[in-house]
């Protein structure tokens, strides 16, 4: 009875809002917040973004707010998740802001009450509702893809794969590099989507292709740029593009089957040692200015609607992508790691 009334009233509300929302009122960057952040003088930013983007973002924030140092703690999302759990178990509270390429991580963090709700006016107005937690505990920072790519000096465009099925062709055996879902959130998310779409049998066949196994989704771009392997099965697409724009012979392929889509949520931790600097960092990164900086540097797809995607990159809407399902990733993560390790032997 009561449930029905709730549902009915939800239906009357504008899109994205919910009756039970615990989100705090949206804030703006006030001089008081800046002053409090400056007193802390430091913010620990745990992220899985490639260092070539994460460190410049940190330096830009430091330039905007002098006196607040950003310590970038970068490793694979799955490692970050493990590290944060291990630190919490030992009562070490170091993380201020966490930014993972595995959106599923935010579900247990939120459930355990580890996240501090924080919403800015810009987030509330310019970030689409489906890219934010209704209770305001996390928000998508940016979106990227896990794309196939190849080195054009090693593979001619007419010989290039068009999609995942093509990668099973014996002519590509020993020529591919691939990252690991036990390390990388991008690859964890991508593996879930691919297994859903193509089945685990696909990975069993792929494993017979003598694939060079690296850890981070940021490494396949570097391996094909160096010419160590001709084709990357997966990897953070923005790094392929950045290498290409630097003049390296790299071509991105959006698979005919679909390309895995990865959002990168970000959250302030409740036990943050520098809570004000943490809020200021999140507020700035989600502002038009912060989002523009990330887009200009890396061309990842912004979460803030006011910021346009980078010129020269294909529009996200024009690419056939898989659907991201964090709840499913959370449920299947351990099984995905175990199955993957069994198939690829590492």
């Amino acid at each position: 009875m009561r449930r029905r009334t709730l549902l009915a009233s939800t239906a009357l509300l504008p899109f994205g809002a919910r009756v039970v929302s615990a989100a705090p009122p949206p804030e703006t960057i006030t001089p008081a917040l800046i002053e409090a952040a400056r007193k802390e003088g430091k913010v620990n930013y745990y992220t899985a973004m490639d260092l070539s983007v994460a460190e410049p973002v940190a330096r830009a924030f430091e330039a905007k707010y002098p006196g607040i140092k950003v310590a970038v703690e970068r490793t694979g999302s799955e490692r970050l998740f493990n590290r944060i759990a291990q630190e919490a178990a030992s009562k070490i509270y170091k993380v201020d802001v966490a930014n993972s390429a595995d959106a599923a991580h935010f579900l247990p963090w939120k459930r355990q009450g580890w996240l501090a709700p924080f919403v800015t006016v810009e987030m509330a107005e310019n970030v689409p509702a489906e890219q934010r937690d209704p209770d305001g505990t996390y928000v998508n920072q940016r979106t990227h893809l896990s794309a196939i790519a190849y080195n054009t000096s090693l593979v001619k465009p007419e010989d290039a794969p068009k999609g995942f099925a093509d990668l099973l062709d014996p002519k590509y055996a020993g020529k591919m590099v691939k990252a690991h879902p036990g390390y990388s959130g991008t690859i964890m998310t991508a593996t879930q989507q691919l297994a859903q779409a193509l089945g685990w049998g696909y990975f069993e066949k792929l494993a017979k292709q003598k694939v060079l196994q690296v850890q981070s989704a940021t490494e396949p771009p570097k391996k094909i740029e160096a010419g160590e392997r001709a084709i990357a099965v997966d990897g953070s697409d923005y790094l392929f593009w950045m290498a290409k724009e630097r003049g390296s012979p790299i071509q991105v392929v959006h698979a005919v089957e679909g390309t895995p889509l990865i959002t990168n949520p970000m959250a302030v931790f409740k036990a943050a040692p520098n809570p004000n600097a943490a809020r200021l960092l999140v507020a700035w990164i989600m502002s038009a200015e912060g989002q523009q900086f990330i887009v200009d540097l890396s061309g990842q797809y912004p979460a803030n609607k006011l910021v346009k995607a980078k010129a020269g990159r294909p529009a996200l809407a024009s690419i056939k992508t898989f659907k991201e399902d964090p709840a499913a990733v959370e449920k299947q993560a351990d099984e995905i790691k175990a199955r993957y390790a069994k198939i690829f032997k590492v």
Binding site: D50, L51, E73, T75, E78, Q215, K345
Partner: protein
């Protein structure tokens, strides 16, 4: 007149208690965990898994194959080279000896990364060079470092120096008389070498083979860098993988025990091999060994030595230099393409660089100081038989030798992530790990130095009314100055290159240089790795050089030989 209070008994008890805590606590927790299930109930299930699950059995077999191959390969290289250096008139013998020892400054995981730059099948510099020289097609490779053979080769590169030093030192000390007698009786030079020199050197070679076996068995860095891309695990990388989410410390503990037990057994075997050498070469004074004239083979011998030295030294450092100044590691730099991008990135952008350098330096200095002092104290108590029960201390101080770095890391993690001593997340846990790992070598070094100081001097001090500790501080320690400095340096260098325990124990606040390099490896940032590795080796070299100046070159040099243990 009141006699000054002699603090030696309380000191002995305190030191013994400290050592027991340092060693028994982590090993005890390992045993407890290996016999527990996830909820803490008693079980043998972990061991059943260990010996039946192929994801453990395969790494175990692989590890044994690697250890045996590395051991054989090291002997095959070290024995002839050691003989050339110690027993023949090969030109530049002294420089060759110094350079082999210098190659030990390279952390094995840095060596592995450098060899990846050289011999990755497609982008490796040597493969590219070979293609240019021979016209080999682009998809073929001369060398493939991502293979079992590649891994064995790289481990051997940084293990054979240990065997070389043992062999060369033994050959130095071998009496010349036996060889003289042999040649007087009409044997040819080569016959003498074959029938006298080789049998006399054999026990040392056996001991060297065991040292190499142990190194290869317990190494973490090189396998982590080369085996995983190649699609296989060794036991150490498998143990480490158990710390990924969701962590399985019970299985990690169980998987650590075979390493521990195997190491203990092999150390016993090594002691026996070295013990047997005793009757052959000890006793009385012998003449200097005669050097065999190589004649026309002189220069081929130098050539051979240079080729051997290229593997751990010349080639890897050339690759590191190239990649430090290159935007893409696989491109050979020229004056036009050389860039400072990697230096700018490492020192101006990368936020972990400075904290990691600071932590590393702090830990290296404090571990070296604490370790050298502790070793000095124990060596003194044992050498002068200061108190009853001194032998136990000697045993305890050598015991950590049997604990592989990664096993100690797991044990310390289990011991110090719980009250009353929650040290995880502090630099203390790393300090304990490093002091424990380096104590045996430090103790052995200082205990042999004590034998060179005559007790009469100390007795004089004692007769004049000084306590034992005071005598130690005022008389013995200054006499041992060079040995203490050399020991300090040895620990300093070893701490800077330690990875296997640190990779289990670090947190974001306590990251050290070796772990930072490993992190960067996983994201493929080789340019920054090259810069940091060169910095790391630079610091190490400066400290070793300074120590040689302060403490006398011979001591610091000889130290490395014993460091292996």
């Amino acid at each position: 007149m009141m006699r000054a209070f002699d603090a030696s008994r309380p000191v002995l008890i305190a030191v013994a208690a400290l050592l027991v805590v340092m060693i028994v606590l982590p090993v005890g927790w390992l045993v407890v965990y290996s016999l527990s299930d996830k909820d803490g109930g008693a079980t043998l299930g972990n061991f059943t898994t260990l010996f039946t699950d192929p994801t453990f059995v395969d790494p175990l077999i692989t590890t044994l194959i690697i250890a045996v191959s590395v051991s054989l390969l090291c002997c095959a290289i070290a024995a002839p080279l050691g003989w050339l250096v110690a027993r023949t008139d090969m030109p530049f013998a002294k420089s060759v000896r110094t350079l082999v020892m210098a190659s030990l400054v390279t952390p094995p995981f840095v060596g592995a990364i450098a060899w990846e730059m050289l011999a990755a099948p497609n982008s490796g510099l040597l493969n590219q060079l070979w293609r240019v020289l021979t016209g080999m097609p682009a998809d073929e490779a001369l060398l493939d470092i991502y293979s079992l053979e590649g891994l064995i080769f790289v481990i051997a590169c940084y293990t054979f120096p240990y065997v070389f030093i043992l062999v060369a030192n033994a050959l130095d000390r071998m009496p010349g008389e036996l060889e003289d007698a042999s040649s007087m009786l009409g044997a040819k030079t080569w016959d003498t070498a074959r029938r006298i020199t080789v049998p006399l050197a054999l026990p040392t070679l056996l001991a060297g083979a065991l040292v190499a076996f142990l190194q290869a068995l317990n190494l973490f860095g090189s396998p982590a860098i080369l085996a995983i891309p190649a699609g296989f695990h060794t036991l150490t990388t498998r143990i480490w993988s158990l710390f990924q989410f969701p962590p399985k410390p019970e299985l990690a503990a169980a998987a650590s025990l075979p390493l521990l037990i195997l190491t203990v057994l092999l150390l016993r075997a090594q002691a026996m091999a070295l013990g047997r050498r005793g009757y052959a070469v000890l006793g009385g004074k012998y003449g200097e060994p005669r050097l065999i004239r190589l004649g026309a083979l002189k220069w081929p011998a130098v050539g051979l030595a240079l080729v051997v030295l290229a593997m751990p030294l010349f080639l890897p450092y050339a690759a590191l230099f190239n990649s430090a100044f290159s935007r893409v590691a696989s491109r050979i730099i020229s004056v036009e393409t050389a860039t400072l991008h990697n230096f700018r990135f490492t020192f101006l952008e990368l936020s972990s660089t400075m904290p990691a350098l600071k932590n590393t330096f702090l830990l290296a200095v404090s571990s070296a100081t604490v370790g050298a002092l502790l070793a000095l104290l124990i060596a003194y108590i044992v050498a002068r038989q200061a108190v009853a029960g001194h032998r136990v201390l000697g045993f305890l101080a050598t015991a950590p030798l049997a604990i592989p770095g990664i096993v100690l890391g797991v044990g310390l993690f289990l011991a110090y992530t719980r009250p009353p001593l929650t040290l995880y997340g502090t630099l203390w846990i790393l300090l304990i790990a490093f002091v424990t790992i380096e104590l045996p070598a430090a103790y052995q070094q200082l205990s042999s130095a004590f034998h060179a100081v005559h007790p009469e001097l100390e007795e004089a001090g004692r007769m004049l009314g000084a306590t034992r500790l005071r005598t130690l501080a005022d008389i013995t320690a200054p006499l041992l100055r060079s040995a203490v400095i050399a020991t300090w340096c040895f620990i300093f260098v070893a701490v800077i290159r330690e990875l296997s325990a640190a990779v289990i124990l670090f947190t974001s606040d306590t990251k050290v240089l070796s772990v930072l390099i490993f992190d960067l490896k996983e994201s493929g940032d080789v340019g920054a790795i090259a810069v940091l590795s060169l910095v790391m080796v630079g610091i190490t070299t400066v400290v070793v050089a300074a120590a040689n100046r302060l403490g006398g070159a011979r001591n610091a040099g000889r130290l490395h030989a014993r460091a292996v243990g």
